[in-house]
Symmetry: C2
Subunit: 297 residues, 2 copies
């Protein structure tokens, strides 16, 4: 099972009553964080998650509201005693940005590795399989498709048919390769895993629906109300209605809206615009959290 949480749901500038948009996912006790604006370290703690467990940080782009909390987060992770290396991925330039921001977070007790991701590049870390995809914003910006893969069930008949000695069964099931045998000799077909797609900041481009096809959850920015569609276009963002259309086109199970304009203190006032298009839409709020389980089978 995968815990998904939005510790913050605000766009552009933080508000006293709303942290900046980010996403924390936890799988088997290990964490993935998407974006880290000013205050994200507090938002994650307030939501009840651990900074120390983060093993992968994905930055969507390099506007301050998505990455200015990085030095503080890294220092706090260091204060908590982290020594394991940390992987930070993002669009082209992520290495320089991390280098620049960490001039005020020197002497960290752990190593940072950075990795540039391009369109459809993948990263595997801590059980998370991530595919980056290009969004359309005022600067290069990536969406992230996150999957938890799930192998097939143990298949006794298949193991016997393949002549696998019984003493190897449990090791092969755990993924080891021994004496010329591998998991493929004892496991049935891979089962459906868990699938979450994250998209901020962006215009409503079709690739979001393509990536989120069949997702358990699409987290998508819905920064503006319908009345401000012009403003959304000018600033390369989405209205809630546009986000809902993306979810409908994807056929995903659920949509969480996020990254609200600071000029929209109460997003409930225009939620009906999204719900009318996609009834499984929900308004994200700081601390919204859900556990997504593997299908029973």
């Amino acid at each position: 099972m995968l815990d998904v949480c939005l510790p913050g749901t605000g766009g552009t500038v933080p508000r006293i009553d709303r942290f900046l948009a980010c996403c924390y996912m936890r799988f088997e006790g290990r964490g993935l964080l998407i974006d880290c604006g000013e205050g994200t370290q507090l938002a994650v703690k307030k939501a009840g998650f651990s900074l120390g467990k983060i093993e992968l940080i994905l930055l969507t782009h390099f506007h301050a509201d998505h990455c200015s909390g990085l030095p503080g987060l890294l220092l706090s992770m260091g204060n908590e005693g982290r020594t394991e290396p940390l992987l930070i991925c993002g669009p082209k330039g992520v290495d320089e940005i991390v280098k620049c921001l960490t001039v005020i977070a020197q002497e960290l007790p752990f190593r940072i590795r950075t990795r540039v991701l391009g369109d459809f590049d993948t990263a595997e870390q801590a059980g998370f399989s991530v595919t980056a995809f290009e969004l359309r914003h005022s600067c290069p910006c990536l969406g992230y498709d996150v999957r938890i893969r799930r192998g097939g069930k143990f298949d006794v008949e298949k193991a016997q048919k393949n002549g696998v000695p019984q003493r190897l069964w449990s090791k092969l099931q755990r993924g080891e390769r021994l004496e010329g045998f591998g998991p493929e000799h004892v496991l049935g077909e891979a089962r459906r895993g868990i699938h979450v797609t994250y998209a901020t900041d962006t215009r409503p481009v079709g690739i979001i629906s393509t990536m989120a096809a069949d997702a358990d959850l699409l987290v998508c920015e819905g920064m503006f109300e319908r009345d401000k569609a012009d403003r959304a276009r000018e600033s390369s963002h989405c209205t809630m209605e546009e986000a809902a259309r993306l979810a409908r086109d994807a056929g995903c199970a659920k949509l969480w809206l996020t990254h609200y304009s600071p000029a929209l203190p109460d997003p409930t006032v225009c939620f009906a615009e999204a719900e009318a298009v996609f009834p499984a839409a929900e308004l994200g709020y700081d601390g919204i959290c859900e556990t997504i389980r593997f299908e029973e089978m």
Copy 2:
């Protein structure tokens, strides 16, 4: 009169219930900000002050808890429509630090000027007369002595004795120089102004008392309780008691303690240690504010 406020009073890492240490001063509607850690833009707004009015930012040093909020603050100032240049002063390296941090705050609608201050260097901006002085921390770090200067009273006898035509009196009083006359020909001796001294992060060095001699207010870090004097020494900080001794030695009118350890959620538990040494000590808290007036004379 000068408004002095501590929008935040925390050290090292932000807490949900405490912003990071900073100081906002307002004189004749214009603002000075000392330090800008993660969340300072929110802390200043919550304390009821304007980001747009800041004309001078003083950075004490370049640990993240004192400067990581800079990109977000600058962007918010830009969003509020600022176009006037902004002066940022700090220890050696301030130019590179500001350049690095603003890689995520590009396209600001105003120009940033930076200025390195050394020991006893002064800066004059927006009515604030600032003198930097070196503190003793784990990295180069500056305290700031802030004064609001006050000219002499208009002296009719002196003006007549100097033969100043009456039509020039009010202009000379406002500081203009005309027809060979200046303010010195119509004003009495300069009167006592307003004097505030700010010192974080530091060991309790004597220069703090020297600078704060006769100050209306000393704002000084008191990060630890007496029991943690070793920890204070190791990390180059002060206990509350040490800060109180500095205030007593200075003979200043008042002391505000600030920059509390995140491990000290309730600083009242050890305040008696400071008060016993310096009865005019006060525990700073987020939003503490005072208006310091010119003496009647």
